[in-house]
């Protein structure tokens, strides 16, 4: 390794610049219609949309409300629509957006807006709980169960889900039919259906064979594009469909 390499890894090489954010505002308390409000903020090269929202909240308008915690894409709190696409605010670098234009930030769609960027996540969590998202096994092992690396790999992808709802709230079927389980619930069912230790695949496949289940999926790939964890959501749904047709995982 040489010095030259060290020199190149300069951080903050993108200088500070000013961007305009149009943020969708709404409160059930003020009796006003939902509306866009614009804010100018100065940001740095490594700043993310979450940093810009914080700057608005901390410097300009304390009432701007959004969820966030980890600030690096692992807790799933801050899925929102940024320039019309579902993304995590904390994983979206501002410099990667078109900063010559204003940045539009609004709540994810298909779930009731509570305040500004905060939506009611209850229906989303309920769909998740409905697919029995836990290991079901009748054995009472005294030690660890054995699972081959290949069997473990089979469901690796869907273990990454952080329940951010970016996928479900980008799905046109979910927008028009709130009863649809939605991609995230199917991803979490997939996580167990293809786990060699689990014995209840048939139960979950039955649940997802429902009229509000996997067959509602129209393979628009919105969910796969939206997933901040790189989960191929559409593929997972397809695998569940195939398993239903086969009658087993």
């Amino acid at each position: 390794m040489s010095n030259a390499v060290a020199e190149n890894t300069e951080i903050g090489v993108v200088p500070s610049f000013t961007v305009t954010l149009f943020v969708r505002r709404f409160s059930k308390e003020d009796g006003l219609e939902a509306r866009w409000e614009d804010f100018d903020v100065t940001v740095h090269g490594t700043d993310r949309v979450l940093d810009a929202l914080h700057k608005i909240k901390w410097e300009q308008d304390g009432s701007l409300s959004f969820r966030r915690s980890c600030a690096h894409g692992v807790c799933g709190s801050d899925a929102m629509r940024i320039n019309g696409r579902n993304r995590l605010a904390c994983k979206t670098l501002i410099k990667d957006l078109d900063i010559t234009e204003p940045i539009y930030v609004e709540p994810i769609k298909g779930l009731e807006v509570e305040k500004d960027l905060i939506v009611n996540m209850d229906p989303f969590y309920q769909a998740y709980r409905d697919v029995k998202p836990f290991l079901i096994a009748s054995d009472k092992p005294k030690a660890e169960r054995i699972q081959s690396p290949e069997d473990r790999e089979r469901f690796d992808m869907t273990t990454k889900c952080i329940l951010c709802a970016a996928c479900t709230s980008s799905c046109p079927v979910f927008w028009t039919d709130g009863q649809y389980f939605g991609p995230a619930a199917i991803v979490n069912a997939h996580r167990f259906i293809f786990d060699s230790r689990d014995e209840a695949a048939d139960v979950r496949l039955e649940i997802l064979n429902d009229k509000e289940g996997v067959w509602r999926c129209r393979t628009t790939f919105n969910c796969t594009e939206a997933c901040p964890r790189g989960i191929e959501v559409t593929r997972a749904i397809a695998e569940v469909k195939q398993a239903i047709l086969r009658g087993k995982p």
Partner: protein, 584 residues
């Protein structure tokens, strides 16, 4: 009188916090007692999910290992300030803790013959320091995520009752048999602004850490130490608050963590000239030396002008010699962080890193049954704490990597078991009439404030002074400066401004309240750091650079008095390992 609505609830076991420790306790308590979990975050948003590297357990799946070696490493890693009876329990119960998780469904990485795979981690060695040992059980570099998911999944399975986005702001005590006992907690419901009183026979605090007292930190925005602060305000002691861990490899300038697993897999720290500088500081285990040593070595490289980058203010984590397949299979998330946030490609470029505030070794003192201590000897019956908010103490002056995910599982489980045992025979302590008074007043005062000081400004100034004066290097002078700044900030805090006047989802109000806890904890940390005139583990005093066993082989116990902070000392439990010099 306040118009805010107050709701009352009654349970046997009340758990505050839905991270790893809180949910592990719930899984133990739920089936045996009427249990409730109250959390300011939806459970899977808790910061346990950010943990990457792994969970220690001497399973000996890939090479010889024993719980006794693990105990020794924990004690030595903690610079002998570890209570050895607790460390023994931690190490002994680790194997069952991992098996519990596997049985609950956790998808650990597997060995070719299908057993739970294990890898190396800093400070974990075979046979008392002879060589690094593979002790960390892991699920790629998202072990914490998988633990959190698995525990939540099992809470769903058991039908555990949760109140999510409820902020606990107070603990209510009442006198029974001439003794102050816990009766209930008071929570603020984010969605409505209403108040809820949760009465419980046993109350468990599992509220996590408080990294937000520092500017550069791997901790979430929500880790503001509310639970520890609540206990403190009740006049109960806090233990070993001066011991705060700075993790060596935070992304430079951002603090986002790159797990030690990177070094476990072979990554190397280099200074500007490419030198593997850890060879000078820890000749035997080099880059895998305990975190406090590595963090100080890095800070020292930078101080002495050998830092990399345009401002020579960081060092480099070099993974370029690792095969991309290994990086993809074992470190996918953290290399993704480097790409996303710094635009660095770890396959081909070294990653800029610098120490980041990471973990509180100190906290609410407990015994090995997770019972909270009132003083050096007596417990508060019915009150429990587990996880990062607690101090058992298994981490002493410096926590070994992978021992916290273990801690939350072992002592979370214990808290659940003993809380149920207590609740079986105990009666509810009556809730006083005015139980919610303090919280109602606090909220009213904040919401009607006509102040001019901004929360974010005060918080930033606090964090700046903590980074500058109470980080890896400390002196009497720097600590005095921090105290002065904090005192001044506290005055300005009286004049705080809350802009959001609404009742619903008022995070503006909550940030102001959280800031109050940050002040309290920062101050305790600084005061105890001043009193500890020696260097040990994560606490390094440049004016007292040596460890001083004669005077300071004791835990600090800080108490809030009406005027100031009183620091007392508590003996360390030593069973098998007399203090020795900590060399690696």
């Amino acid at each position: 009188m306040s118009k805010t609505k107050v709701h009352n609830h009654q349970h046997d076991v009340v758990i505050v916090g839905a991270g790893g420790a809180g949910m592990r306790a719930a899984i133990e308590a739920g089936p045996h007692a009427k249990t409730v979990v109250i959390s300011k975050l939806f459970p899977t948003r808790s910061h346990t999910g950010a943990a990457q590297g792994g969970m220690a357990a001497a399973l000996a799946n890939v090479e010889e290992d024993s719980w006794e070696w693990h105990t020794f490493d924990t004690v030595k890693g903690g610079d002998y300030l570890v209570d050895q009876d607790a460390a023994e329990i931690l190490a002994k119960e680790s194997v069952q803790a991992v098996i519990d998780l596997e049985n609950m469904g956790l998808p650990f990485n597997r060995t070719p013959d299908g057993k739970i795979d294990q890898r190396r981690f800093g400070g974990h060695t075979r046979d008392h320091g002879k060589a690094p040992v593979r002790r960390s059980c892991y699920a790629a570099d998202r072990t914490g995520h998988m633990i959190l998911q698995t525990l939540y999944q099992n809470c769903v399975r058991l039908g555990i009752e949760f109140y999510n986005e409820f902020y606990v702001l107070d603990l209510v005590m009442n006198t029974v048999d001439g003794e102050e006992r816990p009766s209930a907690v008071v929570a603020y419901e984010l969605a409505t602004g209403e108040i809820h009183i949760f009465q419980g026979k046993s109350i468990i605090f599992a509220t996590g850490g408080f990294g937000k007292i520092f500017k550069t930190t791997s901790n979430a925005h929500t880790l503001t130490g509310d639970g520890v602060g609540i206990i403190w305000r009740k006049g109960l002691p806090l233990e070993d608050m001066e011991f705060y861990q700075f993790h060596p490899t935070g992304l430079a300038g951002l603090g986002i963590l790159l797990s030690e697993a990177a070094r476990g897999e072979g990554a190397i720290l280099r200074n500007a000239s490419g030198e593997r500088f850890m060879e000078r500081y820890a000749p035997t285990i080099k880059d895998l030396a305990p975190r406090d040593m590595v963090a100080r070595a890095m800070a020292n490289e930078v101080r002495e002008g050998r830092g990399a980058g345009p401002h020579k203010d960081y060092v480099l984590l070099d993974l370029t010699h690792l095969p991309p397949e290994v990086i993809d299979a074992k470190l996918p998330d953290i290399t993704e962080f480097a790409r996303t946030y710094l635009g660095v490609e770890p396959y081909t470029e070294p990653v800029p890193v610098f120490p980041t505030a990471h973990y509180a070794m100190g906290g609410i003192p407990t015994n090995i049954k997770a019972e909270v201590l009132r003083n050096n000897k007596k417990v508060v019956p019915g009150l429990y704490a587990a996880g990062e908010c607690a101090c058992v103490s298994v981490h002493g002056a410096n926590r070994l990597g992978t021992n916290s995910l273990l801690d939350i599982n072992v002592f979370g489980k214990r808290a659940g078991i003993y809380a149920v045992e207590y609740a079986k025979t105990a009666k509810h302590v009556p809730v006083p009439k005015d139980a919610a008074k303090d919280v109602l007043e606090l909220i009213e005062m904040m919401q009607n404030s006509t102040g001019t000081e901004k929360v974010a400004v005060l918080r930033r100034e606090l964090q700046d002074t903590m980074d500058k004066n109470a980080q890896v290097y400390r002196t009497e002078e720097s600590l005095d400066e921090a105290l002065e700044v904090i005192a001044d900030l506290r005055k300005r805090y009286q004049n705080i401004q809350v802009q959001d006047r609404g009742a619903r989802f008022n995070t503006d109000l909550l940030e102001a309240i959280e800031l109050g806890f940050l002040f309290d904890l920062a101050e305790v940390l600084v005061v105890t750091s001043k009193e500890r005139r020696e260097s040990r583990g994560g606490h390094f005093r440049e004016d007292y650079p040596e460890r001083n066993d004669e005077k300071f082989m004791v835990h600090s116990m800080a108490y809030k008095t009406s005027k100031n902070i009183k620091v007392d000392w508590k003996p360390v439990v030593i069973t098998n390992y007399p203090p020795m010099e900590r060399k690696y």
